[in-house]
Symmetry: C2
Subunit: 278 residues, 2 copies
């Protein structure tokens, strides 16, 4: 049986996450799940340094995530130097939080380490030339990074992912001294949130639009998206100076390839960076 | 200041994760971080059903992960039907834990939902035809799945990712009724661990082989991998009936494309499944 306060927390957490459209069943609950549900991206940081050893704890959490066949084809580079952070910000649409956060972590989809393992043993590793290896490296970097995010949030820190680190991967590779077959696949800002800047949990699509049972289904999708559009319109009006619905956001962002800011050439760039994508 | 028991837990957790080669600094610590560090993949499950609402809680955790520009290009399909689980197991190298676990979740890199949003609005969304959109969908599915894994483990459940779900993506798409531009990117078994089967935390590469400061570096890599090879050799001997080092594992797995079991054709299959990968 849940305690009354637990039930309150649970309902409150679900309402923040799903807006008022349609709440999913409130299942098992605990403090860890409450932490996960309360996630919000932080884009304004205090300059306070992090406690000693924080980076090492985040890295240990990251390395504890599953990795395909234990191949561990990812790396992380911690950047605290203001000059380098500023150069990465310039290459990433001038996102000021990259400069502001005390710790920026570049996550690397890293096929190069295993290439070196093969070279040292004098053995060709043709699997590494396949697209599957790039995909595994990217997915494993994401699993690792998400563990680092959970660890950071459990320590009272805020984070935001930087997908714009893919806008100009060769510039990022130069800045970080990456070998061939290593991509800065995304970044992560870490620091204490500047609490003078209001943020709130962002509602997501109703659970039934994303979670299916047995088979994929779209029969109620339009209705669910309509309800979400209303919620996101209200959320945007409160927080983001426009009152765009989710549908409008999707269309604004995905109807014009200019919004890819360089990422429209990503697959060609990956070839040029030495990834075999067979 | 840490409590004495906390320091013990921390050192113990770090030693399990990193073997005896080289322990990283023991930074800030708490119960959540202890949970993350204690991860181990589970491949033998009891048949016990999960508490009511477990799936919905895992989905709420998954949806709480960050998603690029809130585009939410992923979905999850819960599979409990033994016949479908058995067919997915057949398509995934006959991994028996897929049949054994009470809940199998297929995570979908799902570009199709946003395609439908554009179609409904009568607007072309050319961004979706770019490789970047496939990559975002795969990464966001991974961030979401890792949150589900953490939630499951916090509830005392075990999990294992199934990358072999990419061996025959069109068969999986048929089984799950996926539309075009939707890939079952990996699966996840969820259930109570069969505790008669011994498992243990698997050591990872020394932290200094994966975490860099400011710039990528390989100067001490060979030494670090040699130390890890010793540790993994000993771990394998204790747990896995062979005493292969990590180097040997990498070479065994990645020197022969037969080990890709169909995934060597993945990029062509993705094209055939309706992903634009421009």
């Amino acid at each position: 049986m849940d305690h009354p306060t637990e039930t309150l927390n649970k309902t409150d957490a679900l309402m923040r996450r799903y807006g008022h459209a349609e709440l999913p069943m409130a299942g098992p609950w605990n403090d860890t799940i409450e932490l996960l549900l309360a996630h919000k991206s932080i884009r304004a940081f205090r300059s306070d340094p992090l406690p000693e050893g924080t980076l090492e704890t985040l890295a240990a959490a990251a390395q504890s995530a599953a990795t395909s066949s234990n191949m561990q084809m990812w790396s992380m580079i911690a950047i605290t130097d203001p000059t380098i952070k500023s150069e990465i910000a310039k290459a990433s649409q001038n996102q000021k939080h990259i400069e502001q956060c005390p710790l920026f972590i570049a996550f690397i989809a890293d096929v190069s380490r295993n290439q070196r393992v093969g070279a040292r043993a004098g053995t060709a590793l043709p699997v590494l030339d396949h697209f599957e290896s790039f995909l595994v490296a990217s997915i494993d970097a994401a699993l690792a990074a998400q563990n680092a995010v959970i660890a950071a949030e459990s320590l009272g820190l805020g984070t935001v992912y930087i997908g714009a680190m893919r806008n100009d991967p060769r510039r990022v590779a130069d800045l970080l001294g990456l070998p061939a077959a290593a991509l800065g696949v995304f970044g992560l800002c870490v620091g204490y949130a500047d609490e003078t800047v209001t943020t709130d949990v962002k509602p997501r699509l109703p659970q039934n639009a994303v979670l299916f049972h047995g088979r994929y289904g779209v029969t109620s999708e339009s209705t669910l998206i309509d309800a979400y559009d209303q919620d996101m319109g209200a959320f945007s009006k409160r927080h983001e100076m426009s009152d765009d619905t989710w549908t409008k956001r999707v269309i604004n962002r995905q109807s014009n390839i200019k919004n890819l800011n360089g990422r429209e050439a990503l697959i060609d760039i990956l070839h040029a960076m030495g990834f075999g994508l067979k």
